[in-house]
Symmetry: C2
DNA sequence: CAGGATCCCTAAGGATACTG
DNA sequence: CAGTATCCTTAGGGATCCTG
């Protein structure tokens, strides 16, 4: 039932939150990212009911983040697996960003870290620009990428982004 | 009412979602990031009721993402403003990641982009490691950062992260 | 194993009215 | 302006039972 919220407005953040804005949807994506593909595994590892798992997998598939792919194992019964699409993979920075934030600001609990397989170094999510500069919070402007005219940055007078 | 979910489990992502896992909480952080500080501005720009604004600002303040700061303008009445803390600012990669994702996978709507003030280049959120390498989805491992023993990466056998 | 159907509970959130 | 209080609706999600 958690269909993708069609009322998500203009702001891209709002749109994204309409898709993965619930705990279970986001954790489902986490699992997909970790390599989980089967229904029951999603259900158990996320810690959700089968009904919720079905609803979320359906919604995420409809939204194009997951792909439902039927397959058979040598004559066995048919099964479905859910795999990340390119759009789903694009969510990685968000997942890792949340991970980083949660790990850094954890309340005492033993916490987890992310490491790069190849070199063992800690993983971090960085904000950069195409020019290669590290970007700080104050240095960001919003630009309208329209068809007609390309508006310039508008930090003030921003109604209903 | 949306108090910070205390039942957020072990996984940092889950914890983070307990704090900014709702549309309005995330959009409130977006506004704070954009520079909004006053109650009514949050209310209008996020598009939420005053009650919801109060609840979210209170919860985010309690969670340490925002700081409530009373101030006076030359003899005028006392007011409160809500400003980002360091923990709130740490959420920037998540916000921008969501922004990027939403803008890239927008359904036709005219979309927005983010630019670096200094050089005008497009902003992107990158996943890197401390070694300076660009990290791809398959190259990530989870490590337990405990006090006792430092466990090694555990991609398999991951119950209840 | 992979769900669908039903029932019920709780949390998020809007609307409206009121206050320092 | 910056909220609080009350009421009500909806969506997320658990539990249980059932099916191909």
């Amino acid at each position: 039932m958690p269909d993708i919220n069609p009322a998500s407005g203009f702001c891209p953040i709002e749109k994204a939150m309409g898709v993965v804005g619930s705990r279970n949807a986001m954790l489902t994506m986490r699992e997909a990212f970790y390599g989980t593909t089967r229904f029951d595994d999603f259900t158990e590892r996320v810690g959700m009911s089968a009904a919720t798992a079905a609803a979320n997998l359906k919604a995420l598939t409809a939204a194009g983040l997951l792909e439902r792919r039927p397959y058979q194992l040598h004559g066995a019964r048919m099964r479905n697996e859910y795999v990340l699409t390119a759009a789903g993979t694009d969510l990685m920075p968000v997942l890792l960003g949340l991970f980083d934030w949660g790990a850094k600001h954890a309340d005492g609990a033993a916490h987890l870290g992310l490491r790069h397989d190849d070199c063992g170094e800690a993983i971090e999510v960085q904000v950069t620009c195409a020019g290669g500069h590290r970007v700080r919070p104050e240095e960001v402007s919003i630009t309208l990428i329209a068809n007609k005219h390309k508006a310039t940055g508008a930090r003030s007078d921003h109604n209903d982004r």
